[in-house]
Symmetry: C3
Subunit: 245 residues, 3 copies
């Protein structure tokens, strides 16, 4: 059983966060809320998202799984205006998700979740923690897109830095401690990442919203941010690129 009402904007945000990595997802539903964990086809990035029951205007659920095509869900959500409330209901008999927006009822056929395994979150050694306004970081990543396909992120005691290098050009974004919301780097940490993945992971965090980064040495990066008034949370993991490439 699953029956819920939620602001359209929260569902749209969920789609923005997950769809750059995967199209078909298995959503785990429990009385405590909805969550999903998925890895992109290239096995380079993982998304771990949870929307607590408190993010919903109404929420009733047993434990169940909903396999859904996010492109389909996105096309339905385009029919909802900002501020609209959306009703969702699982129809176990016909195996469809019923979505109601105003007077419109849309039934979406669900996908089979049998083959969809839950990816495991690896154990990571990420000594540095940086909290930054998403817009600051996005500017550096965008600047890098035209000159390289990878980007180095470095955290020291005093600053968080982004560096990209092309044949003749370079990009450097240096954010000293006083421009960061938080910086905690007991040792110097530096890892290299794909510009494209990093860009698609920062874009869902809008404007001045804070984004927390966990960084290690030649280790995956972990990006974390809240939405829906802190009732929902997204975590991205992104594998590092090897320096010698």
């Amino acid at each position: 059983m699953f029956q819920a009402k939620i602001k359209a904007d929260i569902l749209k945000k969920m789609i923005d966060i997950v769809s750059p990595l995967v199209n078909e997802v298995k959503i785990n539903v429990t009385p405590a809320g909805m969550s999903l964990r998925a890895v992109d086809p290239a096995h380079v990035a993982m998304v771990d998202l949870s929307i607590g029951a408190s993010a919903f205007e109404e929420y009733k659920a047993d434990e169940t799984e909903i396999g859904i095509d996010l492109d389909k869900l996105a096309s339905v959500m385009k029919l909802a205006s900002s501020g609209d409330t959306v009703e969702m209901e699982l129809d176990d008999v016909s195996n469809r998700l019923i979505i109601r927006i105003g007077n419109l009822t849309r039934k979406i056929g669900l996908i089979d979740t049998t083959g969809m395994t839950e990816p495991k979150v690896p154990n990571l050694n990420l000594p540095a923690k940086i909290t930054v306004k998403a817009s600051e970081l996005l500017q550096g990543v965008k600047a890098s897109e035209s000159i390289s396909d990878h980007i180095a992120l470095t955290a020291t005691e005093d600053a968080f830095e982004l560096f990209a290098e092309g044949d003749t050009d370079t990009v450097n974004l240096k954010l000293p401690k006083d421009l960061l919301i938080e910086l905690n780097a007991p040792e110097k940490c530096r890892s290299l990442f794909s510009v494209e993945y990093l860009s698609s992971m920062i874009k869902p965090v809008k404007g001045d919203q804070p984004l927390t980064i966990y960084l290690g040495n030649d280790n995956p990066i972990k990006l974390e941010f809240d939405f829906a008034d802190k009732n929902a949370r997204a975590i991205y993991l992104l594998a590092p690129r090897i320096e010698s490439e």
Copy 2:
């Protein structure tokens, strides 16, 4: 003789209404106003449009015909800003329509109307009449676009309903009587239509503007709406799709 001044927005609206169905049209000009009737190349839909002399700021005309390429007229109207007044004058000698927008004079070569016959409006038995806000109907039609190429419209004593069905998905828009501006259905009426045509026929009616629908059983649908402060009127007819398809 034809000489007239009109708000650019009214001419633009005329183009928006007619051009989804046909590009080349014969406009009938009389002292009472301008009108045109045309059928799309697939003979599935008809548009019947009239702009009364009272919709014009100035209007002087004998009976005459103007054959015009709407793409060309549309490219001229792009030069006019919202609120601009446009002057039109027929030059019989050179067989051109002279259009003046501010200090700009644009002469458009007319097309030969000899072969362009006037389509006849068929006799139709359409017992149900429904008046609805265009935006409400458009949401249902847009929702259907991604799952099916046809759509069923049903009117009963109590409600007006839209239904579309794909392989696994459905769309249902139910508008009970109290959400409609008018509903008059002495018997249940139901017909099936092309989503694509229906969509292009609702789009010219903006936002909350009322749209009147005449519906029968496996019969064409008639859509009617006013513009230019009720001094102009558009009627669409759309042939039904056969249910067994």
Copy 3:
């Protein structure tokens, strides 16, 4: 040595003005300001642009040359918001231009200016001078785009006129003296020009900004306008089309 601070909007305007004609330019830097002169690959049009030292918020420079790819500069300037100030610095050692926008540092590899010769401004006999709002002229040029690839400009004592002719259609824009900011035509002048080039030369002048035209008989046209509060100036020259074509 070259070190300067300037409003991002002024640099963006420079790119808008020059990039329709050429991508790679040699910028001449002197203590008095920056300037460049370039001819398009077809040798039909020339741009001559100068930004005085007074247009900059800070400006320190010896005589030097900077060879730059405008596409690259444009991609960097997209990172600056309207109102942002941009710092530029020439790094002679690495042969790069260092651009700072906020905390972001972007180094652009310069291009070799050895083979880039300075085009000479030809002596022209252009008796007529017309100053017009750019938007008025742009409307006439836009209207011509769909019907012809060339356009005739005529100045008389009383009016400035634009005329284009297609197979069946014509465009005429007539601006009498009282609608012009200035008109000084001691004799009738008329020349023919490419619509495409003319269009790309008027577009950088926004809205109601004045544009000064120097016109002769079957002679190039000279277009001149200021920007950056009259601290910068752009001149375009465009070769005429031969009438008999």
